[in-house]
């Protein structure tokens, strides 16, 4: 009897202990990452042209135009596959003489500087196009400033140095006045935009207004040229000095920096946000709330990673890409005087400088010198890491 009781008791305790431990089944969840298809896809066939993609723009929702360093490619969008490419050479350029810096492109006019001078090119529609060219007459005994020295793939934004305003104005530095570096001749040229935007029109000679720009302080130095157009005005960083030039040729000289007494680092890029215009000067950021007529220091991010990015407007949103050969991408929100960076998914990118971001149809396209990538725009803002 005693033995039976002992056994029964032992069995009961074993059952109780087993029950109390085995019923606590832990929930183990494994997060499986989909590695079958990368987030960004390489636009196939584009590399076959041998061009470096430097800029892009959309014509409505159905055509993407990719501007390379000697050609422009139309990619019909809203097809199941991207395989109907049409490429035109950029007049005045060739494989052995590509355009200087990144061509400007706004969906209607593509403008650029080649060894043969300045060109503006009506966007090819239905294989018809018109161009104008301008090669300034130099004054003997002066030094040419027409072709500036640039970093390839101009690490700036808008990634262009010869922008066009209202399809008919362009500005370029031409030559020194005499042999001194105290004054420089700029040419402001104007042409008939209706003619440029029409197919197959005859050559036209632009109207030229030569402007002599003086260094506000000291002499012009040899430094990278930068020009962007906002609010129908040119904003120029030339020879270490900053200017605003309007389409009538009026010049406002700011001196070495938009705000006196700041570090002279030239202009890396410009962007707009909430109706304000910004200049990124190596992380020192200026802003203007009166369309670039007066500037203030907004904040100094010189020692942060923000000093090494290019800010890019995409529609009403602001993004940033690395100014080096890195394919990081951020969505940027301006909060007071702070920058809020959200790093986005760039899975699939080769490590390469991003040269432009364009939304067209249901896709976002990003050009790099080694290829063009696309992703469904619904997924463009996917975070790489959710908590900032």
């Amino acid at each position: 009897m005693k033995r039976i009781l002992s056994f029964g008791l032992f069995a009961l305790i074993v059952v109780a202990l087993t029950f109390s431990t085995s019923s606590c089944k832990k929930t183990v969840t494994v997060i499986v990452k989909d590695t079958v298809r990368s987030a960004w896809q390489l636009l196939p066939l584009y590399n076959s042209n041998g061009m470096a993609a430097l800029n892009s723009w959309n014509a409505g929702d159905t055509s993407l135009f990719i501007v390379g360093n000697f050609g422009i490619t139309q990619v019909p969008v809203n097809r199941s596959a991207f395989n109907n490419f049409f490429t035109w050479p950029l007049p005045g350029s060739s494989y052995i003489a590509p355009v200087y810096v990144t061509p400007f492109y706004d969906g209607k006019v593509c403008s650029y500087m080649t060894p043969e001078g300045f060109y503006a090119y009506g966007v090819p529609q239905a294989t018809q196009y018109s161009t104008i060219s301008y090669n300034p007459v130099m004054t003997p005994g002066t030094y040419s400033r027409l072709s500036q020295n640039y970093v390839f793939g101009s690490q700036s934004s808008p990634a262009a140095d010869y922008p066009v305003i209202r399809d008919r104005y362009a500005l370029m530095p031409v030559e020194t006045v005499g042999t001194s570096n105290a004054e420089t001749r700029f040419d402001l040229i104007r042409w008939d935009s209706a003619q440029l935007l029409s197919p197959f029109t005859g050559p036209q000679t632009p109207v030229v207004k030569s402007i002599v720009v003086s260094a506000a302080v000291g002499l012009f130095t040899l430094s990278n040229y930068y020009c962007a157009a906002y609010y129908d005005k040119f904003f120029v960083s030339y020879g270490g000095q900053f200017f605003r030039v309007d389409t009538l040729g009026n010049v406002k000289a700011f001196g070495p920096t938009p705000v006196p007494g700041q570090r002279v680092w030239g202009i890396a890029n410009m962007f707009t946000y909430s109706g304000m215009l910004f200049i990124n000067s190596g992380g020192l950021i200026y802003f203007s709330s009166d369309q670039g007529e007066n500037w203030s220091v907004w904040n100094d991010f010189t020692n942060s990673s923000a000093s090494r990015v290019i800010f890019r407007n995409v529609g009403k949103d602001l993004y940033a890409t690395m100014a080096t050969l890195s394919s990081q991408l951020w969505k940027v929100v301006i909060d007071g005087r702070n920058l809020n960076f959200s790093e986005l998914n760039t899975d699939g990118f080769a490590s390469s400088l991003m040269t432009s971001i364009t939304r067209c149809g249901k896709y976002v396209f990003i050009t790099t010198p080694t290829g063009v990538y696309y992703r469904d725009s619904t997924y463009f803002n996917q975070l790489t890491k959710p908590v900032r």
Binding site: T27, V333, V387
Partner: protein, 139 residues
């Protein structure tokens, strides 16, 4: 002798009962409870000694977003100053796991009701926990 046996049997049953009670499954927070739009209203800080003080640090909310929108089945949209980004999410117990494309973050769900959501973010060296408080709203 019989009394001892009965006592031990009762004890055994008691142990089993305690074991069962301890094993009551913690179902945690269902993703369905999170669905909808939430607006950041403020923060508190919890030092771990039941000293939960009111604490307003805009960075706590903006580390996540001004507003959050949980959408079926597993997407969370973060809006900060009108700009929207997104990631995937899932819940596990009381944890909210935010799944980015490359890295994930885990927040603690400290409370969710029909009107309020409290998310815990680990503070410095895990000695504090910031709690961001969101209220439900109809966008």
């Amino acid at each position: 002798m019989r009394k001892i046996v009965v006592f031990l049997m009762v004890l055994g049953l008691g142990v089993a009962a305690v074991g069962l009670a301890a094993c009551k499954k913690d179902k945690g927070v269902s993703a369905n409870a999170l669905m909808g739009s939430w607006r950041y209203t403020g923060s508190v800080v919890d030092s771990g000694n039941n000293r939960v003080g009111k604490f307003v640090d805009p960075a706590v909310g903006t580390n996540i977003g001004d507003t959050l929108r949980f959408a079926v089945p597993d997407t969370i949209y973060y809006t900060f100053l009108g700009s929207t980004t997104w990631s995937n999410f899932r819940t596990q117990g009381n944890q909210l796991i935010l799944i980015g494309s490359a890295y994930s973050d885990t927040l603690a769900i400290r409370g969710v009701s029909g009107t309020q959501l409290q998310l815990g973010l680990p503070g410095w060296a895990d000695r504090y926990e910031y709690r961001a408080i969101f209220e439900k709203f109809n966008p």
